[in-house]
């Protein structure tokens, strides 16, 4: 009886000591098997030998060996945890060169002209304008005549035009590639009653030799508002918001009289140069202003053509060249870059 008790005590001391000094998880596991293994464990064997003892002895030794078992298990768990912690602590010391290149990601972007047109359009859709679009092949009537460019009018000179073979309109006039997005206005007004608030983004064509500042294709965003009480003050308000939204700054704009047949008064709109805050620099040729777009009040002749009464309604229209905006905004000096689609260019926006 006594020897058994001592044996248990010795086993406990020895086991605790060995657990404490176990080197790693494997050593710890073999200690667990050695002492507590279900079949061959030394404590298990001792417990198995209790069968030969009296009931009192069984009880006393049983109690003691359960205590030993508990202690050993607790020691194993504690040691286990401490080994794992040491392992983690060790792994935290392994240094990694985090400057190595990241996994490549592939994400494309919209063309800069799309970005600019989306930006412009959103200025006006936020105000409640609808987006209206139209075909790129147009009739002479929609592109010119209805917009107060009658046949044989010199204002047509500034719209060198591509004509389409084999196709004519109802009046037997050849179809053409639209020279501006303004025919969309005609289409919209002839099918809608005032009030009208639209923006028309789109691709347009002019029969022009290509160089750094000219392209036979370009993009416009045109706006049109027709209502019972529209004045030049409204035009100045929205264009100022446009300037502020696209270029930042204080939204300073300047109107100058000009001429576009479909508006009267016709206005050339300059924006305050945001590169020099209007102080004058090489980009604005020291004027502090950048020529940006054409606008005006819709010519009553146009209103009458689409069946509106110029005594009852008035309106404004403006046409913004997306290339011009993008070139100023990003400092691009060659319009051809937009259509070459060189990735080294596209990736900059």
């Amino acid at each position: 009886m006594e020897p058994l008790k001592d044996t248990l005590q010795t086993l406990q001391d020895e086991a605790l000591r060995r657990i404490e000094s176990a080197a790693d998880a494997i050593a710890l596991e073999s200690l667990r098997v050695e002492y507590l293994g279900r079949k061959e464990g030394r404590l298990t064997q001792i417990l198995r030998s209790l069968a030969q003892l009296s009931a009192d002895e069984k009880k006393a030794i049983g109690q003691q060996s359960n205590q030993v078992k508990g202690l050993l298990e607790e020691a194993l768990t504690r040691k286990q945890e401490s080994i794992e912690k040491e392992k983690i602590d060790l792994s935290l010391k392994t240094s990694l060169d985090l400057t190595l290149p990241a996994t490549p990601w592939m994400r494309g972007k919209c063309h800069p002209l799309t970005q600019v047109m989306d930006d412009i359009v959103s200025v006006f859709t936020r105000l409640g304008f609808n987006i209206a679009e139209g075909p790129e092949v147009e009739t002479d009537f929609n592109n010119f005549t209805a917009l107060n460019h009658p046949p044989d009018h010199p204002a047509r000179d500034s719209h060198d035009t591509f004509y389409v073979k084999d196709f004519k309109d109802g009046a037997n006039v050849p179809l053409l590639m639209r020279t501006h997005t303004s025919p969309v206005q005609v289409r919209y007004m002839t099918t809608h009653k005032p009030p009208v608030y639209i923006v028309s983004p789109g691709r347009v064509f002019r029969h022009e030799a290509v160089d750094a500042t000219h392209s036979y294709v370009f993009h416009q965003v045109e706006g049109l508002a027709i209502d019972t009480d529209i004045s030049l003050a409204d035009l100045k308000g929205v264009l100022s918001l446009f300037a502020k939204s696209l270029f930042g700054g204080d939204g300073g704009i300047r109107f100058r009289p000009s001429y576009f047949p479909f508006v009267e008064p016709g206005i050339e709109v300059d924006i305050s140069c945001t590169l020099c805050q209007g102080k004058g620099c090489s980009v604005c040729k020291n004027t502090g202003w950048i020529e940006m777009l054409g606008a005006g009040l819709v010519n009553p002749k146009v209103l009458r053509t689409v069946g509106y009464d110029p005594e009852q309604v008035s309106g404004y229209a403006f046409g913004i060249g997306a290339e011009r905006v993008a070139m100023f905004k990003y400092g691009i000096n060659d319009i051809r870059l937009f259509y070459e689609n060189d990735l080294r260019f596209l990736k900059q926006f």
Binding site: C110, V164, F167, S258, P261, F338
Partner: protein
């Protein structure tokens, strides 16, 4: 249009720098494109005659001249190679100042004294020419101040005049704008001519009455055709005209001065000494002043008794032109219909200073004034006798009073405007204004044919008051908000998806060359819409596909050294569509992409993998999912020739093909110089946009667990995977998902067979499947698959 500031000051006095003047003009609607100084200023530079020239004793390249300045004879050392005795030249005397501040002092040059300097054009800053001294006309008086004589210190402004303002296409017209802005009176140029000697017979007939509203002819006898006076030549040169002879120069001078084009005929060559304004007859031609003979067709011409002698309003004829021997003149000043001049000018491709003004509109009154001013100058500079005149008009312009409400002007302009403001502004521009209680009666001056209604008057008001008065007002648009257009939505979401998948958006003009169309389509082209007047053969067809330009752009980027290139475009394509009444142009919105290189770029840690068809297919699936299009399929019908016959599919929706996806045909790769691992796709968005979009309906989340089973089936290679999926879907509604995870082929399998391994997810919506139930279902799936497809089970390990 070039205008001389010096010349403008003859009509209106002003004291503005050229820069201030251009600001003034810009604020009135006339941009100034450039300002060019015309020499000077100089002081104490006078005209002088070279009396003698002798070689400098000590210098090869210098001459010693004696020069007479009207008072004294001076010795001048001169380095110019062209100096010669008898010349009249500009002499900078001792104490003279030249442009740039150079002061002339007495000097000794290699031992010879020089009391001044003879000047070249460059020294007077008239031009860059420094090859010799400036030689003035032989009849120039000596001792004159050169600054005055050569009008140095002048500047030429290049003024941009908009097409609505032909009345400003002259010095007179520009001066009128300046006078209005500065509120100063205008001074008419001098016209002093007496009545012609006798009233002769009629010599003008207007046959084309609709096309010519006025024709004045004035006859001058016995003129001396010679060089124009220096001042006239200088002014013409400054405004871009080449001096020819005094008569031709005067017609050009008047065009620049008053804006009205004139023409002078040699009366003695004019058959029948008469003028007929008529349309050209069939087969007529005219030899023009520029030496070209032009065929005429329904052109308005000025004819003599026999044949056309001038293209009305465009250019005179060679035969009747004023030459050095011309003695007797007929001076034409007319008003032609703008449209007819423009049509003929465009048809002949012949645009002149004259046609430019006539097609924009000339003034009825000015036709006569300009003619009389020309006579004044002719008689003054070419001598001769005013021998006759005739003035024929077919209709006179009427003044049209406009009734303008001041309130309406305010409403349009958005600035407070008083009745007095309006009157002051309009009167400054020669409008007549009568006020009543609420409206103004406005009579525009005759030269303002562009003023037709209230809006035109509004522009005049704000142009005079200045736009600085205008305050912006920002209001929302109380329009009818419409739902977003489905086409734009498809375009926007398509872009977003493709950008996320690494594609870059491109934009092209959409025009194609026939050559590139053949490259893409082969021998036979589909019907193209063509341009009548392409700029070059590189863009004569309207694109039927976006892929051709994408292939060209791909090639350009590869040549720049790019490797993994993914590009897309959304734009319009054009098709010819047959209709009952003929053909129409169908414009469709198309989305296309092209990709080459690796699916994932090379990396130090992860191996790169080249693109495969499955990547392309996955982007297509992604697009359709993005667009929430569910009822679409793929088949291999009608594949275009540009695609690989084994690695391409047609995209079908709404029962029709809407596009293609696949690998580029190996024959195409060399043609476009791109890699064979290139994949393409094009989708017609119109078909998708025209269909009602299927609304999203929320599905209850599953409440019961799924049972998962793997199957490996050995099948003939020719059995498409899609058949198995659709069979399972049709037969077993408990199958929630079928995922292929392995396709395997080796010698252990029967010839031309492959093993497909896939995972089935079974789920009952209302209950948990028991082991027994799921095993039974699974067994029947296996049985049916084997029966349907003659498949052999490889393994069937329940998990």
């Amino acid at each position: 249009m070039k205008v001389s500031v010096h010349w403008l000051k003859e009509f209106v006095p002003f004291d503005l720098s050229p820069e201030e003047l251009s600001v003034l003009l810009r604020n009135r609607g006339f941009d100034v494109a450039s300002i060019t100084p015309c020499g000077g200023p100089v002081q104490k530079v006078v005209t002088a005659r070279v009396e003698t020239v002798s070689k400098h004793p000590n210098a090869d390249k210098l001459s010693v001249c004696s020069v007479f300045d009207g008072h004294d004879t001076l010795q001048i050392v001169c380095g110019a190679p062209n100096v010669a005795a008898g010349q009249i030249v500009p002499l900078a005397k001792i104490g003279a100042t030249l442009p740039g501040g150079l002061v002339i002092e007495k000097a000794t040059l290699r031992g010879e004294e020089s009391s001044g300097m003879l000047c070249s054009r460059r020294e007077l800053r008239m031009a860059e020419d420094h090859s010799g001294i400036l030689v003035l006309p032989a009849d120039t008086a000596v001792g004159q101040d050169v600054q005055t004589l050569l009008m140095l210190g002048d500047s030429v402004l290049d003024v941009e005049v908009t097409p609505n303002r032909p009345d400003v296409l002259s010095h007179w017209g520009v001066a009128r704008e300046i006078a209005a802005a500065l509120k100063k009176p205008l001074q008419w140029p001098e016209i002093k001519i007496s009545k012609p000697g006798r009233a002769g017979p009629s010599f003008i007939r207007i046959d084309a009455e609709d096309l010519c509203s006025r024709y004045t002819g004035r006859l001058v006898q016995n003129v001396t055709v010679q060089e124009s006076p220096l001042w006239m030549q200088l002014r013409l040169l400054r405004c871009g005209f080449r001096p020819i002879n005094n008569i031709v120069d005067i017609t050009n001078y008047i065009l620049l001065e008053l804006g009205h084009p004139l023409h002078a005929f040699d009366l003695d060559v004019l058959a029948g000494s008469r003028i007929v304004v008529r349309l050209s007859r069939d087969g007529e031609t005219i030899a023009c002043l520029d030496g070209a003979t032009r065929p005429l067709k329904d052109a308005l011409v000025i004819a003599d008794a026999e044949s056309p002698v001038a293209l009305a309003g465009i250019m005179g004829g060679e035969k009747t032109s004023v030459q050095s021997g011309t003695k007797n003149l007929l001076v034409e000043s007319a008003q032609f219909q703008p449209a007819t001049v423009r049509r003929t000018s465009r048809r002949l491709g012949l645009s002149t200073e004259s046609s430019y003004r006539f097609e924009r509109g000339t003034s009825f009154e000015m036709a006569d004034i300009a003619s009389r001013r020309a006579l004044h100058l002719i008689l003054k500079t070419a001598g001769g006798v005013f021998a006759g005149e005739q003035d024929v008009s077919t209709r006179k312009p009427k003044t049209r009073p406009l009734h303008v409400a001041v309130k309406r002007l305010q409403e349009l302009l958005g600035v407070p405007v008083s009745s007095a403001d309006v009157r002051t502004a309009l009167k400054s521009m020669d409008f007549q204004v009568k006020a009543t209680a609420t409206t103004l009666t406005v009579i525009p001056p005759m030269h303002r044919q562009d003023i037709q209604e209230t809006a035109d008057v509004a522009e005049e008001i704000i142009r005079t008051l200045g736009y600085d008065r205008l305050q912006g007002r920002l209001r929302g648009a109380p329009g009818r908000a419409e739902p977003v257009d489905r086409r734009r939505q498809l375009m926007r979401t398509g872009r977003q998806f493709l950008m996320g998948a690494g594609f870059w958006e491109t934009r092209h003009a959409g025009l194609l060359s026939r050559d590139s169309a053949h490259k893409f389509y082969g021998e036979t082209l589909p019907p193209f819409v063509e341009l009548e007047n392409p700029i070059s053969t590189s863009g004569e067809l309207l694109g039927t596909t976006l892929l051709i330009n994408l292939l060209l752009t791909m090639n350009r980027n590869l040549r720049q050294g790019q490797k993994d290139v993914r590009l897309f475009e959304t734009a319009t394509v054009f098709h010819r569509e047959k209709e009952s009444t003929g053909e129409r142009i169908a414009e469709n919105l198309s989305l296309a992409w092209i990709a080459t290189g690796n699916y994932q770029a090379d990396h130090w840690k992860f191996r790169a993998r080249p693109l495969e068809f499955w990547d392309a297919k996955s982007w297509l699936n992604g697009l359709m999912a993005e667009w929430k299009v569910t009822d679409w399929t793929l088949d291999s019908a009608d594949l275009p020739a540009c695609l690989h016959p084994q690695e391409a599919l047609r995209i079908v929706a709404a029962g029709r093909g809407i596009g293609f996806i696949g690998r580029i045909h190996p024959h195409q790769t060399a043609r476009w110089e791109i890699s064979p691992d290139t994949y393409l796709c094009e989708i017609d968005l119109n078909v998708l946009a025209d269909r009602p979009s299927s609304p999203v309906r929320y599905q209850e989340l599953p409440k019961h667990p799924a049972v998962i089973r793997d199957v490996s089936l050995v099948l003939p290679e020719t059995t498409p995977w899609a058949d198995i999926v659709s069979f399972l879907k049709k037969r077993f509604d408990l199958i929630e998902q079928t995922e292929l995870f392995d396709v395997f082929k080796d010698a252990s399998l029967p010839e031309k067979h492959r093993s497909l391994s896939f995972r089935l997810t079974l789920r009952h919506a209302d209950k948990t499947l028991s082991d027994r139930e799921s095993s039974d279902i699974f067994q029947s799936i296996l049985d049916e698959l084997q029966r349907e497809f003659q498949g052999q089970l490889r393994t069937a390990a329940p998990k």
